[in-house]
Each structure stands twice: as C-alpha cells, then as structure tokens.
C-alpha cells in the first residue's frame, strides 16, 4: 500500500465521519489490484462501507450520491473508483 493511498483512505474516513456523521466506516483499499492499470491514472480503488443515520429513508441511489458528492474533487484524481455500501444503523445491526 502506497503512502498516497493511505493518506486518501484517512481522508475518506475523516470526511465521512465529519460530513455524514458516520458512526462506522470501513475502507478496503484495492488499489494494488489495479497497479499499472493505465486508465486509473494512479488513483486508488476503494471499497467503502459506511453506516450513518442520515441514510434513513433515503433510496440506495441517493445514498451513494450523497457519498460521491463528498469526494467530487478527488474523483478521477486520488480516487479512481469508489464502491459504496451505505447502511443505516438498523441495517447494520441486521444479521
């Protein structure tokens, strides 16, 4: 894992907590899978699982849009791809 993608990971986590009041954030950095993948332009591939009460009553498409919006400036740069699983606390508690 590069220092750069580590910094990006921390940035993602911090912003989800600050902006969405996320009570839980898990980030999987899959950038290594795409090393040398030219189209990635050096940006990272991240899988994010985020739990926030702000997702309650919000359709899935819009939840993911809420997350994408936070990283508008980084998409296509430090973040090449972002897979998002956005859950409410109640959904998180499901088996």
């Amino acid at each position: 894992m590069s220092e750069r993608s580590d910094a990006t990971r921390q940035m993602i986590e911090r912003r989800l907590k600050e902006e969405l009041g996320a009570e839980r954030v898990e980030i999987l950095d899959e950038s290594w899978k795409h090393a040398g993948h030219a189209a990635a332009g050096g940006g990272g591939h991240f899988i994010v699982r985020v739990v926030s009460a702000k997702f309650e009553g919000v359709p899935l498409l819009d939840r993911n849009r809420m997350v994408f919006r936070l990283f508008e400036a980084e998409m296509g740069r430090d973040i090449h791809a972002l897979a998002i699983k956005a859950l409410t606390p109640a959904e998180w508690a499901l088996p």
Partner: protein, 108 residues
C-alpha cells in the same frame, strides 16, 4: 447534422432493455467493475448490451450529468437508471432483480 449525444444516448437506452455503459466491451472489459457488472447480468440469461465509453469523454460527461452519478459502469434497465452493482447486489439480496427483469422483457 450529426446526431447529438443526447439523442444517441436516448436511443441506446430505449433500444436495450439492459444497458451497461462501461469501460471496455462484453468480451474484453477493461475495468474490474465493468466485468463484475457483466457477470452480474450474464447469470440472468437475458440479453444485455455493453457500450464502451472509454475514450469518449464527451459522452461520459453527458452520462454523468444525466444520471447525477460520477462513476462507470452505469446501468439502465428498461429505461431507468439503477447505478452499479453496489445498488444491484443489494436489490438482488432482496429478490428485486428477477421480477424487474421479467417485467422488462415481458412487455413489448
């Protein structure tokens, strides 16, 4: 006059019950997420189309604005935008995908 991108996209969405805008082609996907999406639909056995927009920035930007969704792939089913496998996997878990596809293909 050349066909506008908006017209082109509208026609593609209309013509294909399951449409994936992605990176690469069905036989040669050039991105893991596009490949996952192809595998997702392959198991349902219904025809689907993959349109490669890698290298067509104008179309990519248009599609991102149209859907308010910044990443590829972008999936349309029967004219409606469904995001990507982050959304579809969840719908599948709830048993919502098969009825949706059945409805899409049963109508003329």
């Amino acid at each position: 006059m050349a066909q506008s991108i908006a017209d082109e996209v509208a026609e593609e969405i209309k013509k294909n019950k399951i449409l994936i805008y992605g990176k690469g082609t069905k036989t040669q996907p050039q991105c893991g997420f596009t490949m996952e999406t192809i595998q997702f639909f392959a198991k349902y056995g219904q025809p689907f189309e993959v349109i490669n927009v890698l290298g067509n920035n104008e179309k990519r930007e248009y599609l991102s604005k149209l859907t308010n969704w910044p990443t590829l792939p972008k999936v349309f089913i029967d004219g409606t935008f469904y995001g990507d496998t982050d959304i579809l996997d969840e719908m599948e878990r709830k048993g919502e995908v098969k009825p949706l596809l059945d409805a899409a293909f049963n109508q003329k």
